[in-house]
């Protein structure tokens, strides 16, 4: 029965619904179909709403009607595999990248990828990290900068997108939305990390991105420094300390 029911929920083909409809009480086929449709509607609407909550900026960017059309097709092709809906949508970005009607918005898939990662970051356990004052103290006590080991907590993620979706996301979170100065065609380098209870986006320039990437691979400050005079180490360290993404700082 549940095999038939599952098929009927995702099909408008009357033949595929026939066995189930024959087992539903009702005076007419129209009545039995209407009763079944309450469940179908509940399933689609609740899952489309869930996707709207997981990808709120994407929904805001494309509008409700466009988003719901995309979400409905996604629900058809990728129904959730878990009852924990905050984990739903892991393939949405990939799906959006192939969604024909979204081809004129080439940044949309990257935006969805960012939104999904941010939400998962929010639901991650709060990491153990050095507070700003702890990090400042460790740095001030260092005698040999070349021997400094700067460890970032493992959950913080470096992301690089071909479009300025971090800027777009942040612009949509401002009370006064101002998209005029946004250059969407620029690449975006981002660090996402936990700020208190929530996942948070920190924009980076290309040298900062390179430096943090090197630190994540090898925490030795001496080895992570980019060979580029325009890299501002002091400012970058100040940002990382303020964002509280260090799990440890020590001299080897």
């Amino acid at each position: 029965m549940q095999q038939q029911f599952s098929q009927a929920l995702f099909s408008t083909n009357e033949l595929e619904q026939e066995d189930l409809l024959n087992d539903i009480k009702g005076h007419s086929l129209a009545e039995r179909t209407q009763r079944l449709n309450v469940y179908r509607n509940n399933v689609y609407v609740s899952l489309m709403d869930a996707l709207g909550e997981i990808f709120p900026v994407c929904k805001q960017v494309v509008g409700d009607a466009f988003f719901n059309a995309m979400a409905r097709q996604y629900v058809d092709r990728h129904p959730p595999r878990s009852a924990i809906l905050s984990e739903y949508g892991d393939q949405f970005s990939e799906f959006v990248s192939h969604f024909f009607a979204a081809q004129s918005l080439p940044y949309l898939a990257s935006l969805c990828d960012l939104e999904y990662r941010l939400l998962q970051m929010t639901h991650n356990a709060e990491p153990t990290h050095l507070s700003l004052s702890e990090a400042q103290q460790r740095l001030s006590q260092a005698n040999n900068p070349d021997a400094l080991q700067l460890l970032l907590y493992s959950q913080c993620e470096l992301l690089s997108y071909p479009y300025a979706v971090g800027q777009l996301y942040l612009a949509h979170k401002q009370p006064q939305l101002n998209l005029k100065q946004l250059q969407l065609q620029q690449a975006d380098h981002l660090l996402i990390a936990k700020s208190g209870l929530y996942g948070c986006i920190y924009p980076l320039n290309a040298l900062e991105f390179e430096f943090i990437k090197a630190l994540k691979e090898n925490p030795s400050l001496g080895q992570a420094l980019p060979e580029n005079e325009s890299f501002d180490l002091g400012q970058t360290l100040a940002k990382l300390m303020t964002w509280e993404v260090f799990s440890d700082i020590y001299e080897s």
Binding site: Q2, Q3, I24, A50, P79, I84
Partner: protein
């Protein structure tokens, strides 16, 4: 059949507000206000599946609210009425939540929501047949064994009935209680919705419902789809409790005596004070019924 003691509200938390005063659904839009204003309600109820993450605001605020109030945990994703075996990873996560929160009660549904690893996010109906009952009992036994406590099963709201059902819903539920030792969560709104949708009398339904096993009541609002032929009530949880449901609630208490009650809301959220007023209304009805029953006993 395994035997379980009734859930205890004693321990490191407050004495049971659950038994004394009506509770409200815990939703993110109310977190800050609850902690600031500490409304006088008996408890808060959470959906288990919204509180299974390792961190973030849900986990944080649940801990804060738990330090002040009793909590009840309502599962919506175990798919107890499903053909499939239970998802053990999911059960394990729910069990860890229950161990952490120590709720006054844990409840789930007489429904299924997962088939072949696809989760439908709705509470889908089961035919009332012997083989379905047996499968459901196995799943309830399995959950009670893992959680090491009695669980409550909620009567469903349904939009159709199966021709293949071989017994009445109330008989099916009574047999479930008998075989598993589970308790029941009586959703009075579901009684109203299902009976309307199947042209049955809700008062007759209650007369045959195994009320002696009921340990919690849910009250919620529904919407009416008048365009449907016949018209259907939809269990939307996004409206105030209707006068029909309030009357049915009073009648239920007159039949079974006092019972811990929840004002359940899952959408179209009003000010917290509006839900609090509904909880106060439920408490007023509880007090009136108790008074009348005490007077009759003298």
């Amino acid at each position: 059949m395994m035997t379980f003691s009734k859930p205890q509200a004693e321990g490191k938390y407050l004495p049971s507000g659950f038994a004394q005063q009506t509770g409200i659904s815990l939703k993110p839009c109310y977190y800050e206000q609850i902690l600031t204003t500490r409304p006088k309600v008996g408890f808060f109820e959470i959906h288990a599946e919204n509180y299974l993450s390792e961190g973030g605001p849900a986990r944080h605020y649940l801990e804060e609210v738990r330090s002040l109030y009793d909590i009840t945990v309502h599962g919506v994703g175990l798919s107890l009425g499903g053909d499939d075996t239970l998802n053990l990873d999911h059960l394990e996560r729910v069990a860890r939540l229950v161990e952490r929160v120590q709720p006054a009660v844990f409840s789930e549904h007489l429904a299924w929501s997962t088939h072949q690893q696809h989760f439908f996010n709705d509470l889908l109906p089961v035919p009332y047949s012997e083989d379905r009952l047996q499968r459901l009992c196995e799943h309830v036994d399995q959950v009670q064994a893992r959680l090491k406590r009695q669980i409550l099963i909620e009567n469903p709201s349904t939009y159709f009935e199966f021709c293949s059902s071989a017994m009445e819903e109330t008989d099916f539920i009574a047999e479930l209680v008998k075989r598993t030792g589970c308790g029941l969560l009586l959703d009075v709104n579901n009684v109203d919705v299902s009976c309307f949708n199947h042209q049955r009398n809700p008062y007759d339904y209650l007369r045959t419902f195994p009320l002696q096993a009921v340990q919690q009541i849910h009250l919620a609002g529904h919407t009416l789809d008048e365009k449907a032929q016949p018209a259907l009530k939809i269990d939307s949880h996004d409206q105030p409790v209707t006068s029909d449901v309030w009357q049915l609630y009073q009648h239920t208490l007159e039949l079974m005596g006092d019972c811990p009650t929840l004002i359940e809301r899952d959408g179209n959220f009003p000010e917290l004070s509006v839900l609090h007023e509904e909880a106060v209304m439920a408490d007023r009805i509880r007090a009136l019924v108790k008074e009348a029953q005490n007077a009759a006993a003298i």
